[in-house]
């Protein structure tokens, strides 16, 4: 397993918060993430999972250590370059679905691709419908995003994260706001994304069942990695 392609790795990442007192929220984080891997980050509330994810996401740049995405050092890059990396390499899924309420579901999904400006408008539209089909929401395409149920909104958010075929999809509590049925749907989609499409997922969760079903689980406590589990050792691809 170890000779698989690395899509993201960290070297000694740490981060301080200064308010209200100086305090190290994450400390000396080192790990590699592989192509096609479904990785979960777990730990007690306040253990630093979200803080770490935001550092990995390139949105938070105030950290120590180094972050590499596809062997390329991203630490120290300019905000515009980071925005462009996020646009084409990283997809985000949040606990609160965070769709743009004035736009239709279709347009919510299309916007990151229109920003990428790699495909024509028609191609982008076509690709958005493909992603919606994958998530079984194509009949919602033209509804305003705010008119959908929570589970449907989360699937639109997943489609949006997938639209530019990013190498890595990052999620902070993606099922935190969903019932068990929708959680199951999201989980199955994640499995397919990793194992059929070969994209990497890094998901923060406190749902241990969800974590156990992923490929690998990293556990944090007080900002440090305390253990790493390979979950589905039986499945070899």
């Amino acid at each position: 397993m170890k000779n698989r392609e690395i899509v993201l790795n960290t070297k000694g990442i740490g981060k301080y918060f200064y308010d209200p007192v100086k305090f190290k929220a994450i400390d000396d984080i080192n790990f590699d993430v592989y192509k096609g891997e479904f990785l979960t980050l777990v730990g007690k509330s306040g253990s630093g999972k979200s803080t770490l994810l935001y550092c990995l996401s390139t949105m938070d740049t105030a950290y120590e250590g180094e972050l590499y995405i596809r062997e390329e050092k991203v630490t120290g890059k300019k905000p515009n370059e980071l925005a462009s990396i996020r646009n084409c390499t990283i997809g985000f899924i949040f606990q609160f679905h965070y769709l743009l309420p004035e736009f239709s579901c279709l347009m919510n999904i299309m916007l990151p691709a229109l920003k990428l400006n790699k495909y024509t408008y028609e191609e982008v539209e076509h690709r958005a419908y493909e992603k919606m089909k994958l998530l079984d929401i194509e009949d919602q395409a033209l509804k305003p995003a705010s008119k959908l149920s929570g589970g449907q909104q989360q699937r639109v958010a997943i489609a949006r994260a997938l639209i530019n075929d990013p190498a890595i999809i990052m999620c902070d509590e993606p099922t935190g706001n969903l019932d068990s049925k929708n959680t199951q749907i999201v989980f199955e989609i994640f499995q397919r994304i990793c194992h059929e499409l070969g994209q990497t997922i890094i998901a923060v969760t406190h749902d241990l069942d969800f974590a156990k079903a992923s490929d690998r689980t990293i556990e944090l406590a007080d900002g440090k990695i305390i253990s790493t589990h390979e979950n589905n050792l039986g499945i070899v691809r």
Partner: protein, 411 residues
């Protein structure tokens, strides 16, 4: 409907919040409309008063100024007495010597479009015992008409009747009315030099300005010279027109090098009138500019509050790869769209106000309110409207670009 992402977002925001967009645009409309209207008022009035000035005065006039005599009278013959007198205006006549030659030199300058000479005299118009005081103007009426368009104001007779007619006179309608005289009738004119002539009225003019209509008359130069007992070398003033009235100071300086007589541009001559004019237009400009700045504040406020409400959306856009520059361009575009709608409506509003105003009759010499559609003012209002709304939009847009998505997602 196939647009770039930033344009798509800006337009969707604008359409989704059409009420606020419309309110902001309306603010701009009022600002730009009032700005355009007030500046047109001001420009129309300035043009009117300038035209009034040029009815009687050219861009530049050349005349002999009063001289103050020296306090010492030169020693006369044998007695060694120094005579000291109070400095005062000399009694030397205010004539221009060799006016023909000076006029020729002036006319030959490349920047002189027209030049004429004129002889003034104090005139008394008499009929029986009735007498009116006024000013007689000795002119070459054809040249004079070329400069001041006197022909336009004729209500009876014609300026051509005066040409070469040494006994002819054109009088203001006020004089004609008061003395109950009509065209082709005789009028007795006398001067302060005791010359009395019976002249034939060959024309009557009305300028609408009672000062002119009740006092002014035109005769030939030779006739005027006779009224003041002077020969053909006497001329009171030479009037000069140049291609550009606004550059008359510069032209006057050049003319001054050609003659020892006083060369004065119209801005110096009419300084009082112009300073009043300037005060008024400065006042109007500052009021209208303040209104326009209030417009900017409306846009600034509206966009700031929009951005506060949309802070989640901005965080999402940044998370999905939109850069700070994209965010600025989105919100700037929204400001510009509001500004564009508002400015165009403002130009329409201004045009309507100008149109209404131009139909209001003020009476007297003013007639209809002196206001017109000036393309330059429309352009100026348009540019200012867009520039101000863009600037007002830039600052909130920059704040939006600085939103830290992590801070938003963490809460």
């Amino acid at each position: 409907m196939k647009r770039k992402a930033n344009v798509e977002i800006a337009i969707t925001h604008i359409v989704a919040r059409r009420k606020q967009t419309f309110t902001a645009a309306l603010g701009v409309t009022i600002g730009v409309g009032v700005y355009l209207f007030m500046n047109s008022l001001s420009a129309g009035f300035s043009k009117f008063s300038r035209d009034e000035i040029f009815k009687n005065s050219a861009h530049i006039k050349i005349y002999k100024n009063d001289e103050i005599c020296s306090p010492f009278v030169p020693k006369s013959n044998q007695d060694n007495i120094n005579v000291i007198v109070n400095p005062q205006i000399t009694t030397l006549s205010k004539k221009i010597i060799d006016p023909e030659n000076l006029l020729k030199v002036v006319k030959s300058q490349s920047y002189v479009t027209n030049a004429i000479s004129q002889v003034y005299f104090d005139a008394f118009y008499n009929r029986g015992k009735a007498q009116i005081r006024g000013t007689g103007n000795g002119v070459n009426i054809i040249d004079y008409d070329a400069m001041f368009s006197t022909g336009k104001y004729m209500v009876a007779g014609s300026i051509n009747n005066l040409q070469g007619n040494l006994n002819g006179i054109i009088i203001g309608s006020g004089i004609a009315e008061k003395l109950n005289l009509g065209i082709n009738e005789n009028i007795t004119v006398s001067s302060s030099f005791g010359i009395v002539k019976v002249m034939k009225i060959v024309g009557i003019f009305t300028t609408g300005n009672s000062m002119n209509d009740q006092a002014k008359s035109y005769v030939n130069i030779t006739t005027a010279q006779q009224f003041i007992k002077e020969g053909p070398s006497y001329v009171s003033t030479i009037f000069v027109n140049t291609p550009n009235a606004d550059k008359s100071v510069y032209y006057a300086e050049r003319l001054q090098q050609l003659t020892e007589y006083t060369v004065e541009d119209w801005k110096t001559t009419s300084a009082d009138l112009l300073s009043g004019d300037k005060t008024r237009s400065t006042l109007m400009n500052s009021i209208s500019l303040s209104i326009l700045l209030m417009t900017a504040f409306i846009i600034y406020n509206l966009l700031s509050s929009t951005i506060m409400q949309k802070i989640n959306d901005i965080a999402i856009l940044k998370a999905t790869g939109f850069s700070g520059r994209d965010v600025i361009s989105i919100f700037l575009m929204e400001a510009i769209i509001m500004g564009l709608i508002g400015t165009i409506m403002g130009l329409v509003l201004g045009a309507i106000l100008i149109w209404i105003m131009s139909g209001i009759y003020m009476g007297g010499p003013v007639g209809y309110f002196p206001i017109s559609f000036e393309l330059s003012l429309f352009t100026q209002s348009f540019v200012l409207g867009i520039v101000i709304t863009t600037c007002a939009g830039y600052f909130p847009a920059r704040n939006a670009a600085n939103v830290d998505p992590v801070e938003i997602f963490r809460k």
